[in-house]
């Protein structure tokens, strides 16, 4: 198996284990750790977690497929998740999406060729007051306009 938890993650798992009556309670934390460590949850990771928390891999796989925030396929360095639900849709999500697609040259659900960006549309991000909203990795970008998209993407380019 190619997946191995990092030393810090293993320490965190051990610390968390003492908190709950059963190691099975660590199902979600472990999935998160695997996703942060690798960028996505591989089948190898599911096997490894199954051993760590004593659970059949199928049970883990069911949970991992249930939640849309777990990526089961590799994503780019910057995972752009644009909200497509009502408030954002009414406040101009379509233009934002067009702008993102144009600048990155990819459609929703695709990754750029250099593996830097993945664009996806998601259900409500819970920030309707500042619609339209997108999330890049763990950060929210609010009150978006096509111009703002340009600045954001440029800053990401500089950053990397």
């Amino acid at each position: 198996m190619s997946f191995v938890f990092s030393k810090e993650n293993l320490e965190r798992i051990e610390a968390l284990k003492s908190r709950y009556p059963s190691p099975k309670a660590l199902l979600l934390p472990c999935l998160w750790m695997a996703q942060y460590q690798e960028g996505y949850i591989s089948l190898d990771a599911i096997e490894v977690i199954g051993e760590v928390i004593d659970m059949p891999p199928m049970e883990l796989y069911r949970v991992a497929t249930f939640y849309t925030m777990f990526n089961l396929e590799p994503v780019g360095k910057y995972h752009i998740q644009l909200c497509k639900t009502l408030s954002c849709a009414l406040r101009g999500k379509a233009q934002i999406l067009a702008q993102l697609s144009n600048r990155l040259g990819i459609k929703p659900g695709e990754s750029s060729q250099d593996g830097k960006y993945t664009l996806s549309q998601v259900e409500c991000l819970g920030s309707c007051g500042t619609a339209p909203v997108m999330q890049i990795n763990d950060r929210y970008y609010e009150n978006l306009t096509p111009e703002k998209i340009d600045t954001i993407l440029e800053s990401l380019e500089e950053e990397s």
Binding site: L43, I46, P57, M58, E59, Y61, R62, T65, F66
Partner: protein
């Protein structure tokens, strides 16, 4: 738990307090629809079909998750509850492809039954709007999955999780996209896998072996017992005689018997029906030439009369008890020594701690009770008469008469065809000593004699 009285549809019933309401309804044949509940798997409460009205409760309740309480008043019929069931059924059917004409489950499908009982509505959903999933996925172990037909009752996933504990199946995704699946790249792989086909209340899981071979309403089910090992699992033999053809077995299905096998059988036993109709010995064969029954009987008597030295009779420990008794009496009559060697039927690799026994001879216990010798005879015989024993060729004998169900690789002086267990009737005693009677299921167009029919003819000609 104490007994208590409950009222269901204005009738009084006595039940254990704290037991499941649905068990009582099923026990007394009170009509209640359900997909997900199964006696072997317990209540899951996900299909919501088994709604009943309970006096004092605001809303209808699911019978599979309701415990019986004293003085409970339950209604399973009425306008109200039937409209609730109709609505739930419509939800279950929203994305169903309604491909009954090409579906193997048709005729034994719960969706069809409930639609005729409670549905009969006009669909609100257009065929074009249905969510599609993958069809005909080969899960392995002879099980085919059609994700679109699935009602997500989770019986199959609960079977692999709770009963076989192999955890191959699970429901992945959610909402409209929820579907039964294995892990990517993994197969359904356990010796009891095909039971999920019986468990599936709809046509989502079908048997690769049975599919497209017969419509279930043409099949006749005869209760019987599996001859795969000494466990004696109860089965139904599903058979049909098509026009101009011989009666054919299409499948074995498990038959519930809590004392023996519960609700399930192993895959090997389930598929053992094939051997009953392949490579069968049909002709009477004397020194390599086919002969008539009269000639065969004549040759038999002549060989018996001319036998020099000891006569040995070998009986297959798979034969019914009645047949073994008849062979025992016949052996005594002709002064032969009788053996039913068991050595051949020991198979430690086959055994597990559930429904598979290392003793592969179905009637080994009866052999033991009848005190027939179970060792392989070592002495040289003047004449060997074998009743379908697989070790017949190992015994040194001047002349050999072999009654056999299947064509073997060894040639004998006289080879006579013999009926298999489905073409005969009798009693099996399983390894725990439980006696089970198996009626005759198959009547061939040109019948092959059973042991008792042969012996009757021989003794008739003997006089």
């Amino acid at each position: 738990m104490s007994q208590t009285e409950v009222v269901i549809d204005d009738k009084r019933f006595v039940a254990k307090e704290g037991s499941l309401l649905i068990d009582l309804l099923i026990k007394h044949n009170l009509k209640v629809p359900y997909f997900c509940y199964h006696e072997a798997l317990g209540a899951d409460g996900n299909c919501r079909m088994c709604m009943v009205e309970i006096e004092g409760q605001k809303r209808p309740q699911i019978a599979c998750d309701t415990l019986i309480k004293e003085g409970m008043v339950v209604r399973t019929k009425g306008e109200n509850i039937e409209s609730v069931r109709r609505n739930i059924l419509e939800l279950e059917l929203i994305n169903h492809p309604v491909d009954c004409p090409i579906c193997d489950q048709a005729g034994e499908c719960k969706l069809q039954d409930f639609y005729m009982d409670y549905g009969l509505y006009d669909s609100h959903i257009d065929q074009a709007d249905k969510v599609h999933h993958q069809k005909h996925i080969d899960l392995g172990s002879n099980v085919m999955l059609d994700q679109e037909r699935c009602v997500l009752c989770a019986r199959c996933t609960r079977f692999t999780a709770d009963i076989t504990k192999t955890h191959e199946l699970g429901i992945i995704g959610r909402g409209d996209h929820a579907r039964v699946s294995t892990m990517p790249g993994k197969k359904l792989d356990n010796p009891y896998a095909m039971n999920v086909v019986d468990l599936c209340p709809v046509g989502a899981l079908t048997s690769k072996d049975f599919r497209f071979s017969q419509r279930v309403w043409f099949l006749t089910s005869t209760p019987s017992v599996c001859h795969g090992c000494a466990k004696g699992c109860n089965i139904f033999i599903d058979h049909n005689r098509e026009k101009y053809k011989d009666e054919t077995i299409y499948r074995f299905r498990p038959r519930e018997n809590q004392a023996v096998n519960g609700y399930f059988i192993c895959d090997e036993g389930r598929l053992s029906y094939k051997a009953l109709q392949e490579n069968r010995q049909v002709e009477r064969d004397r020194n390599g030439a086919v002969c008539s029954e009269a000639e065969a009987l004549k040759a038999y008597c002549k060989t018996l009369e001319g036998a020099k030295g000891e006569i040995i009779v070998l009986a297959d420990p798979n034969l019914y008890r009645e047949e073994l008794v008849a062979i025992e009496a016949y052996a005594a009559h002709i002064g032969a020594s009788l053996y039913a060697p068991l050595e051949h039927y020991r198979d430690e690799d086959f055994a597990d701690d559930w429904l598979k026994s290392s003793q592969r001879a179905a009637n080994a216990k009866a052999v033991e009770i009848l005190e027939i010798k179970t060792t392989l005879p070592v002495e040289k015989a003047g004449l060997l008469i074998s009743f379908n024993h697989p070790d017949a060729a190992q015994i040194k004998a001047e002349k050999v008469i072999s009654f056999q169900t299947h064509i073997g690789k060894d040639a004998y002086d006289l080879t006579l065809p013999l009926a298999v267990f489905s073409e005969s009737a009798g009693t099996l005693v399983n390894e725990e000593g439980i006696e089970q009677y198996c009626p005759r299921a198959i009547k061939r167009n040109e019948p092959i004699p059973t042991v008792i029919e042969w012996l009757t003819q021989i003794e008739g000609g003997d006089k």
